[in-house]
Symmetry: C2
Subunit: 342 residues, 2 copies
DNA sequence: CTGAAAGCGCTTACAG
DNA sequence: CTGAAAGCGCTTACAG
């Protein structure tokens, strides 16, 4: 392990002060171009690397943004993260990423870690069973910027970056109704979470608008896994009332359901029309292609990171904004197209 | 922004020395249980949080592991990352994650960032067009542990965590041959990368074993996107020699091909049998289900992180190991099952 | 345009 | 079991 070069080594070898070396390395205005060039060359030659800890300790800033997601391995989340990473990296910020694995307890511990790591800001999509935001108190008290994205909390005074989930649910359901569906079930996730609760509200609104009575037993609150899909399909089969439409709040689960329905002899969309959510790439490559609600994951990640960085750099104050709602829209494909397209 | 509490504040308020506070907070043996309890309580009461920069600066250690992946938003990579995060988090390490977006240039810059962030170790899956490992020189010179996973480099003296890609390619191809395929094309990624080059070698070995001549024009070196799939299917259609087997080195692209082939009237597996790679969850939910090679992504992430942490904690020396090869195996499903299963 | 000096908040070898 | 003191490598207000 070779010795680390410091600004003192550079200063000594150039017979100047460490202060000047520090300034030159940070491209401070007050240093002459000559001196700068000299110092940069020497630094390069000696294999110098800045010590971020010393710098952070002195500047009381970390250039690191924390991110907590429910799971890393979901198409949506990894797409959002990709967007965040891109923006953060370009702006010279690092991302510290952890996953709550849908556990409130783990989320609390993740928040603590982020706090102790002194991230300059924190971006969070909450877990399935998160209750309240007391565990973010430390961030709020210290005025450390906090942004929620996708899954947000009620009554949050922080910036929330979302899509209009009510509209998403409404559009999907309305579309199914327009295609002639009379009895539409809704397969969703934990209704504690805004994304699922709002989509269901949209579902209810559309039903009401079309004069279709809402039935509680048509709501399947699940964990959206393959297993959940299996149970839903079983229920469809055993149902006394004919089910002719399915609105699933997640593409992967929707595709699972479609596959099983097909195997059981249902024709899609003729017997049962299906709409998913997120516009996962897989929706386009399966047969029939899955109608879905476009979810701007990459954009959401980029905008969240951009907002955070602008705030940190004083170019913007996220304290004044409560919601940023991104555009999202229904994409009609084969799984729900019963009528001739116009 | 409330003032940060330091060990000095705790020391003053308790009329003891900061050294004792530091020791107590780190559960040092030499501090009496009483004093420890007292200090911990006070720290809690005052809202103390340790300053990692000061601590890192002093200890010359960061408790942070860097990870560079080609893309965050790929099923395989996000699964690997999930495994890494789990292990790292449990061991009290943080993960600094960046993506190279398949660009050698960006990878070089990522490595530099990691170096300057003084990660304790670095885990990398290289980009499409990475050449050599000169850009890791700084890590090697400083003896900072470096682990490659999935996509590795030739002649690397570091620890590489991989699956047996040759065997994977061999198994897939052999299976297609056993199912009666006479003319199998192979759709793959950049052949500079071990994963793709090795799978092709396996493909060639199986052909050779069955006395089937290898034809260069049966190799499609692509970027494995939907567009690439489209071109391959076009080529299949226009081909003068009948093509009856497709081995694609990535499930998503395989599914894309399957979808288009079906639309063009091909029956799968009767006309054309298809095998993918990775065992992406989507392989099970499409119709016909896709035969594929199981890839232990989560395990790979866990083992990489575990190896790194054990090395950092002195429990193991990765300097003595060159390769860790994880188990992986062919999973036969409907897309390639022409013979009755035994 | 450059320097001297203080201080960011810890940890630890040394001493008792 | 506890303390005094030095030092990790920077940055910056102040002075010139």
């Amino acid at each position: 392990m070779s010795k680390e070069i410091t600004i003192y080594d550079i200063a000594n070898s150039l017979k100047i002060s460490p202060a000047t070396v520090s300034r030159a390395l940070n491209n401070h205005d007050a240093i002459s171009t000559n001196t700068k060039a000299l110092i940069h060359a020497k630094a390069e030659e000696m294999g110098y690397r800045s010590n971020k800890f010393a710098s952070n300790l002195r500047k009381q800033k970390t250039n690191t943004i924390g991110v907590i997601v429910p799971r890393l391995n979901s198409t949506l989340m990894s797409t959002i993260l990709a967007g965040m990473e891109k923006v953060a990296n370009e702006a010279g910020y690092n991302l510290l990423i952890t996953q709550s694995l849908e556990s409130f307890k783990k989320e609390i511990s993740n928040v603590k870690t982020m706090f102790n790591s002194r991230v300059d800001g924190l971006m969070v999509s909450v877990s399935y069973d998160t209750e309240g935001y007391e565990h973010f108190r430390s961030f709020i008290d210290k005025n450390i910027p906090l942004i929620f994205f996708d899954r947000t909390l009620d009554k949050s005074e922080c910036l929330n970056i979302v899509i209009d989930n009510i509209k998403g649910g409404y559009d999907a359901t309305k579309h199914l109704l327009e295609q002639g569906c009379k009895n539409i079930i809704h397969v969703t996730g934990n209704l504690k979470r805004n994304v699922y609760a709002d989509r269901m509200r949209g579902y209810q609104q559309a039903l009401a608008e079309f004069g279709v009575p809402f039935k509680q037993h048509n709501i399947f609150e699940t964990d959206l896994t393959t297993e959940a899909g299996r149970k839903v399909v079983q229920a469809i089969k055993l149902s006394e009332e004919k089910i002719d439409g399915v609105f699933v709040t997640n593409d992967f689960c929707a595709v699972t359901c479609m596959g099983m329905l097909k195997k059981m002899g249902y024709s899609i969309p003729k017997d049962i029309a299906v709409v998913g959510f997120n516009n996962d790439p897989l929706t386009e490559i399966i047969t029939p292609s899955l109608s879905t609600v476009y979810y701007p994951g990459k954009e959401m990640g980029e905008i969240a990171a951009k907002s955070m960085i602008n705030h940190l750099n004083g170019l913007m104050d996220i304290g004044h904004t409560n919601y940023i709602v991104l555009k999202s829209e229904l994409i009609v494909r084969d799984s729900s197209s019963r009528l001739p397209k116009n």
